[in-house]
């Protein structure tokens, strides 16, 4: 009898071990916390990491555990590719949470070939065209997804706001718009698209002002901005470079209304600038300090994964990381119920619903729709205005802009 029990127990244990292994899927996580974009990448990476562990400690994907590994690739493309290949060949990775422009673009072909959905924080417009329908799209990106408006769309939304702001503030004549950023793929991503729309809305668009991504003394560029009479200056860089630009421009008396891109606008930046007004930036989620947002409870619970006190302040980049994971999670749940969690099914899961918000994050993530021909998940942009006095930032919401899904804007 004892033998029988022992044998049954052994078989049962063996089965459960097998079952546990079979009920795990691998999700790779590339992050940059030490490289060129580390100062901002860290916030986003924390959001992704915490969300992945939270999902696992709360039942996984309907019982399937997400085996994941977070690797700091320090914004080096070869290392990103090596990790991708390692995960693909050894861990049978079925989806990946990525990060920047360099790695995301390098992995487009591999992801499409291996059918691995890549969720990144690179919001370049050309990632939104999965079938290369727009002749301007250099390469179709069928397995790339991101949560948020593309850089181009976010900039268009702000230009649209600026056009109304110009009228509301009683401005006469044509307002002047300038793109201010380094001559690199990331700052350039929305340059033409945004300038075109600004012209369409009646702005006078100046020559782009080139400002290095590395912080420095930018008084010369600020004088150019002043001479051009810029009313709305779009800040295409991020972090320290933007801080030095705003400070330099303050010194020379060039104070247009700043329109920042999504990585250049957060409370941390405002604090560092110290004294600034009318700093307009987009956000794709609610803020940590917002009250009465139902989904914020879940965000706070997720935050406790790496900060048990629950006191640590989190930027909206952190919260965007959570949204990115949760859209993937729900697509995986759909996949599990519709033929199993595979890359192809996760992709289909992204298309399965329209205007959806992950369960539990209502009010935090915005309703999104992805289709097989259009990966512009979100075309709505919340616009905020920040000010800081002596390093004490305040942020208020200005408006919400919903952009049309124009065909000529797809992938651009």
């Amino acid at each position: 009898m004892k033998r029988l029990i022992a044998a049954t127990a052994m078989v049962a244990t063996g089965l459960s071990v097998t079952a546990a292994k079979a009920d795990e899927v691998f999700v790779g996580h590339l992050m940059d916390i030490t490289g060129a974009t580390g100062f901002i990448g860290k916030f986003y990476a924390d959001g992704v990491r915490d969300a992945l562990s939270y999902v696992n400690t709360h039942g996984g994907i309907d019982g399937t555990i997400l085996d994941s590994e977070s690797v700091d690739y320090a914004y080096k493309v070869p290392q990103a590719i090596a990790n991708y290949k390692k995960w693909r060949s050894r861990n049978e990775m079925i989806a990946m949470q990525g990060w920047g422009t360099g790695d995301t673009e390098a992995l487009i072909s591999f992801a499409a070939q291996d059918k691995v959905p890549v969720y990144s924080a690179s919001y370049s417009g050309h990632l939104t065209d999965p079938t290369a329908k727009n002749p301007k799209t250099a390469k179709p990106a069928p397995y790339n997804f991101f949560y948020g408006a593309s850089y181009s769309d976010a900039c268009r939304a702000m230009v649209q706001w600026a056009a109304e702001d110009w009228k509301a503030s009683g401005g006469s004549g044509k307002p002047v718009f300038s793109h201010i950023g380094d001559n690199h793929p990331y700052p350039n991503a929305p340059k033409e698209a945004c300038a075109e729309y600004a012209t369409e809305l009646g702005f006078e668009v100046t020559e782009p002002v080139v400002v290095s991504m590395k912080p420095g003394d930018f008084k010369a560029q600020c004088l150019t901005i002043k001479e051009a009479g810029t009313n709305y200056g779009y800040l295409a860089n991020l972090g320290p470079s933007v801080v030095s630009l705003v400070k330099s421009c303050d010194t020379v008396g060039a104070t247009p209304k700043w329109l920042a891109n999504i990585w250049a606008g957060d409370v941390e930046t405002l604090k560092t600038v110290g004294d600034v007004e009318n700093y307009v930036f987009p956000a794709m989620t609610s803020f940590w300090t917002d009250e009465g947002v139902p989904g914020m409870d879940l965000v706070r619970e997720i935050s406790k994964m790496s900060d048990s006190s629950g006191e640590q302040f989190r930027t909206h980049h952190y919260i965007r990381g959570i949204c990115s994971v949760y859209y993937m999670k729900e697509a995986m749940e759909w996949a599990k119920a519709n033929g199993g969690i595979t890359g192809e099914n996760i992709k289909a899961g992204m298309y399965a619903r329209t205007d959806w918000v992950p369960k539990g994050l209502e009010g935090v993530c915005m309703p999104a729709t992805w289709t097989a021909e259009d990966h512009r998940g979100i075309n709505t942009v919340n616009i905020y205005s920040g000010s800081a006095k002596g390093g004490e930032p305040t942020v208020e919401k200005l408006t919400t802009v919903t952009l049309p899904r124009r065909d000529d804007w797809l992938g651009y």
Binding site: K42, P78, Q79, N83, G102, F110, A138, H184
Partner: protein, 357 residues
Amino acid sequence: MAGFSMRPCGDFRTTYRQDTRIFDTTVVRNAAILGVIATALIPFVLDGYYVNLFIQISYFAIAALGLNILVGFTGQISLGHAAFFGFGAFASAWINNTTGIPVLLSIPLAGLMTAAVGLLFGLPAARIKGLYLAIATLAAQFILEDFFARADWFTGGSYGAAANPVNVFGYEVLDDFSFFYVCLFFLVIMYLLGTNLMRSRDGRAFVAVRDHYLSAEIMGINLTKYRLMSFAISSFYAGIGGAMYGHYLGFVSAEGFTILLSIQFLGMIIIGGLGSVKGTLMGTIFMVLLPEVMENGVGLLSVFDWANSTAVTDGLAYIKEMAIGLAIILFLIFEPDGLAHRWQQIRAYWKLYPFSY
């Protein structure tokens, strides 16, 4: 250094031809052939991760050999090698996309185009040297980087350029398994060419220019010609490596070819051994594998609970990054002649054992 010979006793050389053989001894030659055959078996034995690492090693090694020809053999300096590497990537994609020339041909053509650009930027080398030349090549780095972001017709501007996969007789090389052999082919060819170059009259002229330019000139070596030629050949190698990189990724973005990559190329040849073809390959292998080994080392710690907290993993990430800098410093202090020299010493040790000299 590079001429350290380990011929067995009684193996005399009686002609210049024998004296300039590619491989010192028959054993070395057979070992090299066996090495290539063994490498060709990698995709059958090892998984996709290793195959990818080999592919990385091959395109970087080809470009690094170019830099070693310039820095190690000719004694010039270049801080703009990554820009030439990038130019090759864009050029090959451009040739293939606009003219429809097959990728296998567009790769060497991109090499030639890059050589022409290298020649242009190498012009100052005819007159200046040392620190001045370093700064001139640094300018090449920035000018080309800016060109990549602006020249929409050539590079696709900030959107980047799509690069088609390699196509061999109508068969598209889409997976790493097949691309591995394309890389192996180019690696062997380019390294054989590099070694041969060093045996030739021109190669010896390079070394003469490096060792003492005045003596070289007195001996009748045209300094301008050889300095320029060295720049062109160096860029040719960079172009080929870059083109392979571009077609491997299928997409070329201006972002990847920064000064940091140029420094990394310098790191490869310093660690491998300046003026050594074999050392270049060793240095590249070292530089490609170091972050991976560090990553795996850091990964091993994750079995401990304390190592799984965000604070520790983030701290380890910094250590991993610093290791690369540390490796370069340690090599400069303890092994200035690089891995190639160390390899010779290991060989000598076994050859002379139990005597130390």
